[in-house]
C-alpha cells in the first residue's frame, strides 16, 4: 500500500549570515568567558596606562626634544662637511633609483583591499583620538608651543577625520571592499607624500643664525635644508619606476635583470669608496703602474687561461697548483699588494678552469669574467690606497646613521661568501676541512661579539706587521664580518641539509663533478631555502652594529648616548639622555621592522615553511 505525501514547497533561501556587529565581536573576542572578560578589562586598563604614561613622557614640558631636532644632521652623518653634502644626496638618490627600478622590473608588491587600508586608517585615527582623550594633558604648554586644550582638540579632530575616512573606505564600496584593488606601492607612496607635506609645513624649533651670525632658536620647518633633496629624490624614484614599468615589456628581460644586478653589486663600493670618500687619486701612478700591470695580467693571464682550457689532462691543475704556491709565497716577500692579489686570483682562476672554463661561448664569458675581476681588483685597490679628500674632524669620514648602515651592509656582503665556504666545509666529507670549519664556527659563536670587537681593537694592531695600519672602521667591519660569517654558515648549512639526496645522485648520474654539483645544483637550491633566515641575519647584524659604540666608533648610538648629552655649545644639552636614546630606538626599530616584514613576505612567497 502506498500513499502520497505532499512535500511542502520550500523556497530556496540564501544561508543566514552569521550574526555580526561590534557587540557580537566583543562578546566573542573579549568576553567569551568570565575569566576572559576579567583578563580583557585588566589588559585594557594596562594598555591605557602604558599609553598615557608614554604620552606623558613624550609631551612633558621638561623633555628636551630640541636635543634631537638640533642634532639631526649630527645623528645622521656626524661631521660630514657642509660643502660636500651633495655626495650624501647622490648616494641616497642612487639607492632610491635602484630600488624603484627593481620594484618596477620585478613587479614587486601586490594589491590590497580597501577594507584592509580602511582598517589601517581607522586604527591609526582611533589611536590618535584615544591619545587626545587619555593623554595627561596638563595646564603647562609643551616646548612645541602646543597649549594643552588645543592639543587635545587637535588630536581628536585629526584622529576623527582619519577614523571616519577609514570607516567610509571600509563600507562605501560595499562588496568591492573585499576585492584587492589598491596597489600596495600606491599606499606606500601616499604615506611618503604625506610625510613630505608634513616636512614642508610643520614648524619645529631649530637652530639658526640671526643677521649678526649669533646662534638663535627659530621656529621653522625641521627639514628646512633637506626637504628639497628629499622631494626630488622621491619624484625621481617615481619617474624611474614608471619609465621602467613601461620599458619592461620592450626590452630583453634577461639583459635588464643582469644589468640591474650588476648595478646593485657595483653601487655599494662605488658609493662608499668613490662618492662618499672622494679619493685623491694620483693619476700619474695610475697610468704608470696600475693600468700597465692590470693590462698585462688581463692579456697574459687570459692567454694562460685559454691555453689551460684547451689542454687535456692534469697540466692545467699542475700549473694552477704551482701558481697558488707562488702566490702564497709572495706574501712572505716585500712586494706590491696589487701583484699579490692578482697572482692569487689568477691561480684560483686557473684551478677553476676545468670546472667552469667550458668551450666556445662559455670560454669567452669566462675570459671576460677574468678581465672584469682584474679591472675591479685594480680599481678598488687604487681607490683604497688613495687618501680621502673629505675633510672631517674625526678619523673617519663615516659617522652617525651613515656609519651604522655602511657597517651593516659591508659586514653582510663580505660575510656571505665566507659563510657559504664555511658551511660547505662543515658539511664536507673531507675531515680536516670539516674540523677547521667546525672549530672556527664554534669558537666564534661561543664567545660574544663584544669580545671579538675588543680583540680587533686591542690585539689586531699588535699582531700586524709594522707599517700596516687598519683604521677603526675597517677593524669593526672585520670583526663583524668574521663574527657574522659563523652565524651565516650555520644558516646555510641548514639549507644544505634540506637538499634531498636525489639531487646529488642525479647530478652525479649526469656526469657533473663535485664542484659543478655544488655550484650549479646544490647551492642555488640551498640558498633559496634559507633566504628568510638570511634576512634574519641581516637584522641581527644591523642591531649588532650598535656594539661599536663600546669600542669608541662614532656610530648612531654613540652620538645619541655620548655626544649629544655632553654638548654645551652652542646649546646646552648636558645630561639630556633619554630623548636621544628614545629617538635612536625608534629609528633602529623602523629599519629592523621593515626588514622583518620583508622577511615574512619572502617566507610566504617562497613557501618555505609549507613544504
Amino acid at each position: 500500500m502506498t500513499h502520497k505525501v505532499e512535500l511542502p514547497e520550500i523556497p530556496e533561501l540564501a544561508p543566514e549570515p552569521p550574526p555580526s556587529g561590534p557587540r557580537v565581536w566583543m562578546r566573542e573576542n573579549l568576553f567569551s568567558t568570565r575569566a576572559s572578560g576579567a583578563l580583557s578589562i585588566l589588559a585594557i586598563l594596562l594598555a591605557l596606562a602604558i599609553y598615557r604614561g608614554l604620552l606623558g613622557f613624550i609631551f612633558a614640558s621638561e623633555r628636551r626634544w630640541d636635543a634631537v631636532t638640533f642634532n639631526a644632521r649630527l645623528l645622521m652623518v656626524q661631521a660630514y662637511p657642509d660643502a660636500q653634502m651633495a655626495r650624501i644626496w647622490l648616494s641616497i638618490a642612487i639607492v632610491a633609483v635602484l630600488v624603484a627600478a627593481t620594484l618596477a622590473l620585478y613587479r614587486v608588491g601586490g594589491r590590497t583591499t580597501p577594507r584592509k587600508v580602511g582598517t589601517g586608517l581607522s586604527v591609526f585615527g582611533g589611536t590618535i583620538v584615544l591619545g587626545g582623550i587619555v593623554g595627561p594633558w596638563g595646564i603647562e604648554s609643551s616646548p612645541f608651543g602646543v597649549a594643552s586644550m588645543s592639543g587635545f582638540l587637535g588630536w581628536v579632530i585629526v584622529g576623527t577625520i582619519l577614523l571616519v575616512a577609514g570607516y567610509l573606505l571600509r563600507t562605501v564600496p560595499g562588496e568591492r571592499a573585499r576585492a584587492p584593488s589598491i596597489p600596495v606601492l600606491g599606499v606606500v607612496l601616499t604615506t611618503i607624500s604625506v610625510v613630505l607635506i608634513a616636512v614642508w609645513t610643520i614648524s619645529l624649533p631649530v637652530p639658526a643664525r640671526d643677521a649678526a651670525g649669533v646662534q638663535i632658536i627659530a621656529l621653522e620647518p625641521i627639514a628646512m635644508t633637506t626637504r628639497l633633496p628629499w622631494t626630488s629624490i622621491v619624484a625621481l624614484s617615481v619617474i624611474v619606476y614608471y619609465v621602467m614599468w613601461v620599458l619592461r615589456d620592450r626590452i630583453s628581460a634577461g639583459l635588464a635583470r643582469s644589468t640591474l644586478v650588476g648595478l646593485w653589486v657595483a653601487s655599494f663600493p662605488v658609493i662608499v669608496l668613490v662618492i662618499l670618500r672622494d679619493p685623491d687619486t694620483d693619476y700619474g701612478r695610475v697610468f704608470t703602474w696600475y693600468v700597465p700591470v692590470a693590462l698585462g695580467f688581463v692579456v697574459l693571464g687570459g692567454l694562460l687561461l685559454n691555453f689551460v682550457a684547451s689542454t687535456k689532462g692534469e697540466l692545467g691543475r699542475a700549473i694552477g697548483a704551482v701558481l697558488l704556491i707562488v702566490a702564497f709565497a709572495s706574501f712572505a716577500f716585500p712586494m706590491e699588494f696589487l701583484l699579490r692579489f692578482l697572482l692569487l686570483s689568477l691561480a684560483l682562476f686557473v684551478l677553476a678552469t676545468p670546472t667552469f672554463g667550458g668551450k666556445g661561448a662559455g670560454r669567452t664569458t669566462y675570459l671576460w669574467f677574468w678581465a672584469g675581476t682584474v679591472a675591479l681588483l685594480t680599481y678598488f685597490l687604487a681607490l683604497i690606497t688613495a687618501p680621502s679628500t673629505v675633510e672631517v674632524a674625526g678619523t673617519s669620514f663615516l659617522g652617525g646613521l651613515l656609519l651604522t648602515v655602511v657597517l651593516a651592509v659591508v659586514a653582510i656582503v663580505l660575510s656571505l661568501p665566507i659563510g657559504i665556504i664555511l658551511a660547505l666545509g662543515r658539511s664536507s666529507t673531507l675531515p680536516i676541512f670539516r674540523l677547521m670549519s667546525t672549530t672556527y664556527i664554534e669558537l666564534i659563536r661561543g664567545v660574544p661579539l663584544i669580545t671579538w670587537l675588543i680583540v680587533a681593537f686591542i690585539m689586531l694592531p699588535v699582531a700586524l706587521p709594522r707599517g700596516v695600519e687598519v683604521g677603526g672602521v675597517a677593524r669593526a667591519v672585520g670583526a663583524m664580518t668574521f663574527f657574522s660569517a659563523a652565524y651565516l654558515a650555520e644558516n646555510v648549512r641548514g639549507g644544505l641539509q634540506a637538499i634531498p639526496r636525489g639531487q646529488y645522485e642525479a647530478s652525479q648520474a649526469m656526469g657533473l663533478t663535485t664542484t659543478q654539483t655544488t655550484v650549479f645544483i646544490v647551492l642555488p637550491q640551498a640558498l633559496r631555502a634559507v633566504i628568510p633566515a638570511l634576512v634574519g641575519q641581516v637584522i641581527a647584524v644591523f642591531k649588532d652594529t650598535s656594539l661599536v659604540t663600546i669600542v669608541g666608533l662614532f656610530d648612531f648610538l654613540h652620538i645619541a648616548r655620548l655626544v649629544i648629552p655632553s654638548q654645551t655649545q652652542p646649546f646646552n644639552f648636558l645630561g639630556v639622555l633619554r630623548e636621544p636614546l628614545l629617538f635612536a630606538a625608534v629609528v633602529y626599530w623602523m629599519f629592523t621592522f621593515t626588514f622583518s616584514r620583508i622577511s615574512m613576505r619572502l617566507e610566504k612567497k617562497l613557501g618555505v615553511g609549507e613544504r
Binding site: L30, S40, E314, P431, I432, T451, A463, R466, K543, A585
Partner: protein
C-alpha cells in the same frame, strides 16, 4: 673462446682521489697554520719591542682595584677579580633565564589566546622589543633609572620596595648558619617527592583512579622542609667529615693529580678507539677501514696523548700565590679541591639561628648621606639595566619560539583532547605543552646561550661582569692576550654547560622511536 681483457693501468698519483684529497686538505691546513703563526710571531715581536712580556703573573699579583658590586669589592688578586666578574655574569644569567622563560612562555601563550586584546598586546610587546638593539634598551633602562630621585634624609625607614637613583631595594630572604643543613633536608625531600610521585603515577595508571601525584610530591617536600627547619642541628656531624676530606685531599702527593688526568685522557682515547674498531667488526671479520676512519683514529689517539703530555708537563710549572709562596700547578689544583671542601664544611659550621631570615629593605643615614642599609636586597642600576633589558629581550624571542612550538603541534591533538572531554587548561597542560616542549627546547637552548653571551654588554653601563673586569685588568697591566684567553675559556665553558643541560633534556624528551 678468447676474452679480451682491457689492461688495467695503475692510476697515476696526481689522479688518485685519496692522494689529491689529503694533499689539498693538508695544504690548506698548512696555509692557515703558517698565517696564524706569522700573526702570532709578529704579535710576540711587537709585544717584546714595547716592553710587555706575555705572562700569567697578574693572576696572583695583588690587583689593587675596587669593584662596584659582587662578592668581593676589593679583590686581592687578578684571578679573584675575574671570579667576582664571573659570579656577577652568572647571577644575571641564571636569574635572567628563569625570568625570561616565565615571561616568554606567558607571552607566547598570550599571543595564541582567543582574547583579542591579549593577543594584540603580546604581539606589540614582541614586535617592539625584538626590533630594537639590546644595547639601546640597556642604555634606555639605565637612563630611566638614573633619572629617579635620589635618597634624602626624609626617606629613612624600612620598605618593601624602594627605587632611587642608587638602585632598587626590596625585601628579601637571607640565609643564616642553619641554611646548609636545612638544604640537605630539602634536597632529600626532593628525592623523596620524586620517588613518591612516581609511585602515585603508577597507581593512577594501574587503577584509573586519580592519585594526585603532584599534590603528593608538594606535600612531601613541604613536610621535609618543615621537619628540617627544626631538626637541622642533628646534621652537625657533616662539618668535621667535610674538613676531614679536605685534610685528606691536602695529604695526597701532588704528583697523583696530573697522573690521574693523564690516565683518564689515555683511557678515554683508548676506549673510543676500541669501540670504533668494535663497531667496524662484522661476522666476516673487520669491515673496510677507509682513510677517513684512519684519520679519526689517529686524531683521537694524538689528542689523548697530547692532553696527557700537557697535563704532566704543565703540572711542574710553579706559580707564585698571593701569600707569596711558590706552588706547582698540581699543588694549586690540590689546594683548590681541598679549599672547596673546607668552604663546604664552613657552610655547615652553624652559628645557630634559623635557616632563612626574611627582612625588609631599609634606608639609613651613613655619614652625611642617606643610603640603603644592609637588610633586604639591593639591585644596583647597572645590574637592573642589564638584567631587565636582557630578560625582556630574550623573553620576546622565547615567546615567538613558544608560539611556533604550540602551532607546530598538530590540530588533531587539540580536537582529540576536546573530544575526550578535557578542558582547555587540561589539554594545554597535559597534551599540547608536553609535545610543544619537544619542539621548543633546542631553539630555546640557543636563546639561553644568547642571554649568557649578551650579559657581556654590561661592560657598556659599568656592570662588573667578566668582560668589564678583564678590560679593567687589561688597562692596568697590558696583558691583553692572557685575558682574552680567560674570556674565551669562560664563555666556551659556560656555553658548553648550558648546551649540555639542554641536550640532556632534549635526549630525555625525545620521541622514542622504534
Amino acid at each position: 673462446m678468447t676474452v679480451q681483457v682491457r689492461e688495467q693501468r695503475k692510476t697515476p698519483l696526481w689522479r688518485n682521489a685519496a692522494f689529491l684529497k689529503w694533499t689539498s686538505q693538508l695544504f690548506t691546513l698548512g696555509v692557515v697554520v703558517v698565517f696564524l703563526g706569522v700573526l702570532g710571531k709578529q704579535a710576540f715581536a711587537n709585544f717584546g719591542a714595547s716592553g710587555t712580556t706575555f705572562d700569567w703573573g697578574w693572576l696572583t699579583d695583588p690587583a689593587s682595584i675596587l669593584l662596584r658590586e659582587g662578592i668581593d669589592l676589593n679583590p686581592d688578586s687578578g684571578a679573584r677579580a675575574l671570579v667576582v666578574g664571573a659570579v656577577n655574569t652568572l647571577r644575571i644569567t641564571v636569574t635572567g633565564i628563569l625570568a625570561a622563560t616565565i615571561i616568554g612562555t606567558l607571552v607566547g601563550i598570550g599571543r595564541l589566546s582567543s582574547n583579542w586584546i591579549v593577543t594584540k598586546m603580546a604581539s606589540l610587546y614582541i614586535e617592539t622589543i625584538r626590533n630594537i638593539p639590546l644595547l639601546v634598551q640597556i642604555f634606555f633602562w639605565q637612563a630611566i633609572a638614573i633619572a629617579l630621585p635620589g635618597l634624602v634624609a626624609a626617606d629613612i625607614g624600612t620598605y618593601w620596595f624602594k627605587g632611587s637613583n642608587k638602585g632598587f631595594a626590596f625585601a628579601w630572604v637571607s640565609w643564616n648558619g642553619g641554611f646548609w643543613p636545612w638544604l640537605v633536608f630539602v634536597v632529600a625531600g626532593i628525592f623523596a617527592a620524586r620517588f613518591l610521585s612516581r609511585w602515585r603515577h603508577r597507581l593512577q595508571e594501574e587503577t584509573g583512579q586519580p592519585a594526585y601525584p603532584g599534590y603528593w610530591a608538594m606535600a612531601t617536600m613541604l613536610v621535609f622542609a618543615v621537619i628540617g627547619w627544626f631538626l637541622w642541628p642533628i646534621l652537625s656531624f657533616i662539618e668535621p667529615v667535610l674538613h676531614g676530606i679536605a685534610s685528606f685531599v691536602d695529604a695526597i702527593p701532588p704528583i697523583v693529580i696530573p697522573i690521574l688526568i693523564a690516565a683518564f685522557s689515555l683511557i678515554a682515547a683508548g676506549a673510543w678507539i676500541r669501540s670504533f674498531f668494535e663497531s667496524r667488526r662484522t661476522p666476516a671479520g673487520f669491515g673496510k677501514i677507509t682513510d677517513d676512519d684512519w684519520f679519526r683514529v689517529i686524531f683521537v689517539a694524538v689528542s689523548g696523548i697530547a692532553v696527557a703530555v700537557i697535563a704532566i708537563a704543565l703540572s711542574g710549572l710553579t706559580l707564585e700565590t698571593v701569600a707569596g709562596d711558590s706552588l706547582t700547578i698540581a699543588e694549586l689544583i690540590r689546594t683548590g679541591i681541598a679549599n672547596f671542601f673546607d668552604w663546604l664544611g664552613n657552610g655547615f659550621a652553624s652559628d645557630g639561628g634559623q635557616p632563612l631570615n626574611f627582612a625588609k629593605a631599609s634606608v639609613i643615614q651613613r655619614g652625611n648621606f642617606a643610603q640603603y642599609g644592609e637588610t633586604g636586597a639591593v639591585m644596583t642600576i647597572p645590574f637592573f639595566a642589564v638584567w631587565f633589558a636582557v630578560t625582556l629581550y630574550t623573553a620576546a624571542f622565547i615567546a615567538e619560539i613558544v608560539r611556533g612550538g604550540i602551532l607546530a603541534v598538530s590540530k588533531g591533538q587539540t580536537e582529540a583532547a576536546q573530544a575526550v572531554g578535557l578542558t582547555r587548561s587540561q589539554y594545554l597542560r597535559l597534551i599540547i605543552l608536553p609535545q610543544a616542549f619537544r619542539i621548543i627546547l633546542p631553539p630555546i637552548g640557543n636563546q639561553y646561550l644568547n642571554l649568557f653571551k649578551n650579559t657581556s654588554l654590561g661592560v657598556a653601563v659599568g656592570f662588573i661582569e667578566i668582560v668589564a673586569v678583564g678590560s679593567i685588568l687589561m688597562n692596568k697591566n697590558g696583558q691583553t692576550l692572557p685575558i682574552v684567553i680567560v674570556w674565551m675559556a669562560f664563555f666556551l665553558i659556560g656555553s658548553l654547560s648550558i648546551s649540555g643541560v639542554v641536550n640532556y633534556y632534549n635526549r630525555k624528551m625525545k620521541l622514542v622511536e622504534r
